[in-house]
């Protein structure tokens, strides 16, 4: 049950990003998720004489479906297509078995501007939950559709939606010794990619600043690992770390003033904290083994990282001020690449199972339960959505593709780069209003 939606090459140039748009990702959404709440998203009406450049209600339905929490009714199964409250007959919708109903209308207010009205109904109670009218320019239609999906998600689950967010990732073209690497940024559903940096040497480990205005990443463009920081509005960048040996695994502190990172300048790989303003360094770990892949707790008080001090790679937690590290994971003999959820409740990681498969697992910090949420053989680089309900990761069997999954492992989508491989995803924080 895989429906393929082709990504459009979006012609609108987003002024936010420095370099022009590149070839888009192809998106496959998994359908038919057990336990998802049935919902109807009726195609929005429009009095616009011209066709709209974006199918707003389809974007909303795809977002809700991707979350794994909702199962939108296929448009062909709708008995009626109301666009305003007076046209809604709740009995029809109860017959179809949907719990919630979304309707809307798009009214042109100028040559390139619209008012989008949407309403969400509780079908069982027979009443409206929320209703708003949102203005949007033509170029903003996709973003506003994601914002509406966030509103609907929050009204129905009580949790903040994370559809109006971005993802960063690295594409690779070519083979053998002639390759081209690009760090790109796209919407959370893979649309509208733009290039942040392009090199002939590997790019790795993008990490978002908490306000989503900057990105730090590892580049091998000088034939060695160095960490750069780049402003996404201006494209200007600066070198943050270029010590001898590894300069890797950057992770931005929640207050945006520091980066945790891995350096091997004093011998073996250790975790350091770098102050962005003056470049000053504090060493956090002291062990003769590998310490790498730091991720900050959202309160900034501690750091979780990967270490093989116990033999194989496992996750450990240490105070951001230093001190003794505590081991967190004990299930299996390979747990690495942690990402802390923004609510501090869970960690995503790479977990090797008993059959030698590398899969994405989610670890609940209160119950200490580890749950495998992916099904691949070579899954890696998990990054949690800012609401902590979905995880994006790289599935690198055969060719590199990106995949998302809900943290309970129920739903997802795959993002495929037609011209090569795509890896190293990083989900952005919530975007500023």
């Amino acid at each position: 049950m895989i429906k393929i939606v082709r990504a459009l090459l979006v012609g609108t140039l987003m002024s936010l990003w420095a370099v022009a748009a590149q070839a888009a990702l192809t998106i496959e959404i998994n359908q038919g998720v057990e336990g998802a709440v049935p919902i109807a998203v009726v195609p929005f009406g429009s009095s616009s004489p011209q066709a709209l450049p974006q199918d707003v209600s389809a974007i909303i339905a795809a977002d809700l479906q991707r979350s794994g929490r909702f199962a939108p009714l296929p448009a062909n199964d709708l008995l009626s297509r109301p666009t305003e409250a007076a046209q809604v007959n709740f009995r029809d919708w109860r017959v179809l078995g949907v719990d919630s109903l979304v309707i809307g209308n798009i009214e042109p207010t100028g040559p390139d501007s619209y008012n989008i009205r949407f309403q969400v109904f509780d079908v069982l109670r027979g009443g409206q939950l929320i209703g708003y009218t949102v203005p949007a320019t033509r170029a903003q239609l996709r973003r506003v559709a994601h914002q509406i999906a966030d509103q609907i998600y929050e009204a129905l689950t009580g949790e903040r939606g994370a559809f109006n967010t971005k993802i960063a990732y690295v594409t690779t073209r070519g083979s053998g010794k002639v390759k081209q690497y690009e760090l790109q940024i796209a919407d959370s559903d893979g649309y509208g990619p733009s290039t942040v940096v392009r090199t002939k040497q590997p790019l790795m480990s993008p990490t978002w600043a908490p306000d989503a205005s900057r990105i730090a990443y590892v580049s091998f463009e000088k034939r060695r690992a160095e960490i750069y920081m780049q402003d996404l509005r201006t494209g200007s960048r600066s070198k943050l770390a270029s010590f001898s040996g590894i300069n890797g695994a950057p992770s931005w502190s929640p207050d945006g003033t520091r980066l945790a990172l891995t350096l091997s300048r004093d011998g073996n790989p250790e975790i350091y904290i770098l102050r962005v303003a003056d470049g000053s360094l504090t060493r956090l770990t002291q062990s003769p083994s590998i310490d790498t892949e730091p991720t900050w707790s959202p309160d900034g008080q501690s750091i979780v990282f990967t270490s093989d001090r116990g033999g194989g790679p496992q996750l450990y937690q240490v105070s951001a001020g230093g001190g003794q590290a505590q081991r967190l994971t004990f299930e299996g003999n390979y747990n690495a690449s942690p990402d802390y959820s923004a609510d501090g409740k869970r960690l995503s990681m790479v977990h090797r199972d008993g059959n030698g498969n590398y899969r994405i697992a989610v670890y609940e910090l209160d119950t200490r339960m580890l749950r495998v949420v992916s099904e691949g053989r070579l899954d890696e680089s998990p990054s949690l959505a800012p609401n902590g309900r979905m995880v994006i990761y790289a599935a690198s069997d055969a060719r590199g593709v990106l995949a998302t999954s809900s943290v309970d492992g129920r739903a997802g989508q795959r993002l495929t780069f037609q011209e090569g491989a795509v890896r190293e995803p990083a989900w952005s924080p919530f975007l500023p209003k």
């Binding site: 040497q201 790795m204 463009e221 590894i246 890797g248 590998i290």
Partner: protein, 175 residues
Amino acid sequence: MRAIWKPVLLAFAVAAVSGCSSMGKKSTTDAGAETGALGDGATTGVGVGSGTFQGMSIDDPSSPLAQRVIYFELDSSQVREADRAVLTNHAAYLKENPQAVITLEGHGDERGSPEYNIALGESRAQAVRQLMEFQGATAQQLPTVSYGEEKPAVDGHDESAWSQNRRVELIYPGR
């Protein structure tokens, strides 16, 4: 003497050409990354000019120095017993040629976390460096770089590819 100089001149010509082509592309793409491409060309040039050609043996395919890759077990940075002799020969070369440099390039297979594989590749390169230091080479002669899983020697998603990708390459400049 003639046999030695021919490859040197050739390498220099290649370096010059690649330098030119990098420069030619500079204007077409964003500046920062292309600076890196220019640097690549320049590095090759320095290697060629650094005067480490006294011993003919490094260009002789039957020399003990011809083996320049050693391989590792999964999750391990321990040098295998059988590879120690290989490293001994290269260490002896460095000891005899104090100006010579060998870059130790650590790599891993594609499985698991990319940044952990960078760390693992670095640990492998450092394990090799440590052994060669014991045998008389100096740390300054043995810079390390880890590419983790980013530059596989062999494409493929099975053990035969993976076992060839878990490696340290001994890179003589300009070769």
